[in-house]
Amino acid sequence: MAREIAERAARLLAGKVDEYLVSAGLVSSVMVKYANGEVSVTQAWKDYSLTVYATKGGRMNVATYTAQEPSPLLAQLPAMIEKLTPSPLYAPLPEPTGVSLSFVDRKIKEAAAEGDASALTIDLQEKDVAGMISAQHSHSHYLGSNGLDLGYEITSYNGYLRVFKGDDSGQWAWVSTSLEPRMAVEALVRASDLAEMCHSLPKETAAGEHRVLLSPMIAGNLLEHVAEAANAGSVIMGFSFFQGKEPGAVVASEELSIKEVPRDSRLPGYRGFDDEGVATSDKYLIEKGSFRGLLHNSKTARLTGQKSTGNAGLILPRLFNIEIEGGDLRESELLEALGDGLYATNNWYTRFQNHVEGLFSTVTRDAFFIVKRGRPVACARRVRITGSMPELLMHIEGLSRERWQLKWWEIDTPSIVPFVLLKRAQVTSVTS
């Protein structure tokens, strides 16, 4: 079906524009949402999509539709492109070098097709739980005037659960391309343990400079911002603290290595080709603290004299999956390694004062522990971690061996993330 829609669209464009890329797809999904320890709503989607990129004389246009029949939508497109002006970002479409890669879990595909959440729901063990669990099946086909003729089919299983114990809470998330209910159960247990531990401890406030242990939930959020800053589009548009950084520059402690991993079939950003048809590849953004370069599509590559890294979105580059390499610390040794300090388990609302200098703050949520001699002795609520992202990267002292596959509200790109230990970070608190 997706290929047929793409072919109809391609036929309508051939000869009327200089170049085109067409992708057609169908996404089916089902999601169960929890609140107060019960289901609040169950949702099911079935959406067609058609995306058309077309150029004429260096003018660029992208149209997106939720439609199966492209003809009424594309009739005016060639004439409309004539009305644009040549784009400063324009680059000719590259040769398609990618391959079709797919990963399909049959149970996810069936649940998504039926809108049946029964395969997703888990025993909440009478806990006060909020969150969601979802399953999604996507099938897309791409055709292009550059010879692109590739497709993919992918399934996704992800969710997050927040467990409350009185006024205290813990939260954990997961993502996978296969239906692995143990991930949901582990998230429930971890979130519950964090809430229970926080609830059992006295409450104190925390402020000042401290050693800080970041859980994978918070590390995943902060390091996704770092990966996004390595997108050439962010640099060009003025949203990156990597502006002016050359490959080889030391931008982090040598403990840190961040990769962009579209070829990891465990994560739903698994792709063999980017939106321009170029082969994807796993690559370092930061390797042992050293900056390895920006992510490019053909347009940002031409503008900056680089080569595409196989990260095309149609106008600006994109991320598929992120992997943070693990370190030497075992999870069981993390608090001991922290010694005296703070253990932050989750966050939200990361905002930059200033993207180009990387000044930011983020608000912690859920359990936040004050740790003495490797033991949690108190729990603090809703403090902020503030400072400079470039400085924070320099303060990474260690990472855990164990890593988690995560995606949730605050981690948009599927990511594999360890715990991260910071030798110092600034924490601020609003008075109660």
Binding site: A44, T64, T85, S87, T121, Y160, Y349, F352
Partner: protein, 473 residues
């Protein structure tokens, strides 16, 4: 396009399948976007989403389904998927959901466009926006503008909503929005300013948004921050906040915590909870503070007359002279509180369930001029604009970092200061309000909530406000 009759048949079929409540919404959002980089057109895009959303309440379990397959068989399949979704979770529904009585509409309305968006040619829009950009003087002594972007977005939202208990509402709301980012440097120091402007209406609204003037003012703010400003004072002092920050605070610290679904815990794992779980209807601040949310403000970015459950919209009082008042309700949360919905259910497209949202949230103006407020401050700071903010998931502790701020000394605005930080809890904020300006001003925003996320057009408003004796970092 799907007709009212087809939607009517869907809700009737849902009822005959055992649904206590059924709602079908045809939702089409047609857009045109243009993006400029350093004054040059990067490209255009036309996003179009069109489909039907169906909600059914089946034995107390809420099921939602959406489809872009608008054939009769596609719509029937979507209905069955909504029922199937509701049934599949029955085992884990402990307390039956209900949908309460409300003042439902049988109406059709549209926002009048003096310059209809679809009638104006693409060349004319490109030319108009290019001219506006050309009129901006980017030069400021000692400051270099490294890059700037401007994005234009128009969205025409057409909806038909039908419920099995009598709502039948059709609406057409066009909106325009402009987003820009300016990155500048002075020596080693760098900063950026991002801003959004928006309104409902036709292309005439673009003129009213005065983007060139806004960009010029923001260039002045960047220049002050990068070139002229010194380190800010710290400690307890009076703080005057500009309308932009006051509006944001009304959205973040009053509007969001007044959303009944959040108070009930339905968004607990996403957008979080609310201090109104404990504070109920108690005193939250000075009697000078009254806060409203009003979807019916003509020309506003958050405008609507009926919500996405077909309920007639009205102005809501969130804080009445310092006391917490109404919550924002949809029919589900209103039923849980034994109230009638006050029409806060909104969905951004056919893929989205209607959830409790704000529209245009603002602090009511007072009787002080800006000059009177400044003159009343012996020692303090004036924060005119912010560049970073956030708030905890209980909506209690907020942080605002000034982009453009000044020391106030002896009732006069003196030297500019850089990156002044106000970190304050909601009660401190409202309790310390000692003067409220006459100059109510609105700014547009995109509010985030929901899973999947539903970025939604809203406005935030406020006048200049004086906070007495708060801590500045």
């Amino acid at each position: 396009m799907v007709s009212i009759d087809e939607l009517q048949r869907l809700v009737e079929e849902a009822s005959s399948n055992g649904a206590e409540y059924a709602e079908a919404r045809y939702h089409r959002v047609e857009g045109q976007s243009l993006m400029f980089y350093n004054g040059m057109l990067v490209g255009a895009s036309q996003p179009l989403t069109e489909g039907v959303a169906i909600r059914v309440l089946y034995k107390g379990s809420m099921g939602f389904s959406s489809t872009s397959d608008l054939t009769p068989s596609g719509l029937r399949e979507a209905l069955q998927r909504a029922i199937s979704a509701a049934r599949s979770s029955l085992r884990q529904v402990k307390r039956a959901t209900s949908v309460g009585h409300a003042f439902l509409g049988s109406a059709r309305y549209s926002v009048v466009e003096r310059k209809p968006l679809l009638d104006m040619s693409l060349e004319d829009k490109i030319s108009d926006l290019s001219e506006r950009l050309k009129s901006v003087d980017f030069s400021r002594e000692g400051m270099k503008v490294n890059s700037y972007t401007l994005s234009y977005g128009e969205r025409i939202e057409h909806k038909l909503t039908v419920t099995n208990d009598g709502a039948m509402v059709e609406s057409r709301i066009p909106r325009v929005a402009l987003f820009y980012n300016i990155t500048a440097s002075a020596g080693e120091r760098r900063a950026n300013r991002w801003n959004q402007l928006g309104a409902s209406g036709g292309y005439e609204a673009v003129s009213s948004l005065r983007v060139a003037e806004e960009m010029a003012r923001d260039l002045d703010s960047l220049h002050i921050n990068l070139v002229k400003a010194k380190s800010p004072p710290q400690g307890t002092m009076d703080v005057v906040l500009g309308p932009e920050i006051v509006g944001l605070a009304m959205h973040e610290a009053v509007g969001h915590p007044s959303e009944a679904d959040r108070i009930m815990g339905r968004e607990a794992a996403q957008a979080g909870l609310s201090y109104r779980r404990e504070l109920k209807e108690g005193k939250i601040g000075s009697e000078l503070v009254s806060v409203y949310d009003d979807p019916t403000i003509p020309g506003s970015y958050g405008f609507y007359l009926y919500d996405d459950e077909g309920v007639a919209a009205r102005k809501r009082t969130l804080i009445d002279r310092g006391r917490l008042a109404e919550m924002l309700h949809n029919r589900e949360t209103a039923a849980a509180y034994g109230l009638e919905s006050n029409a806060s259910a909104r969905a951004i497209d056919h893929r989205s369930e209607p959830i409790v949202r704000m529209a245009n949230t603002y602090m009511a103006p007072g009787d002080h001029s800006f000059e009177e407020i400044i003159e009343s401050v012996r020692e303090g700071v004036y924060i005119a604009k912010y560049m970073e903010w956030n708030i905890d998931d209980y909506r209690w502790g907020a942080r605002y970092v000034g982009l453009e701020a000044y020391v106030i000394r002896g009732g006069r605005i003196e030297e500019p200061v850089r990156n002044v930080v106000l970190e304050i809890n909601t009660r401190e904020f409202f309790s310390s309000v000692d003067a409220v300006g006459k100059d109510l001003t609105f700014s547009a925003g995109t509010c985030g909530k929901g899973e999947p996320p539903q970025p939604l057009p809203v406005t935030m408003g406020g006048p200049h406000v004086l906070l007495r004796g708060v801590r500045v970092k």
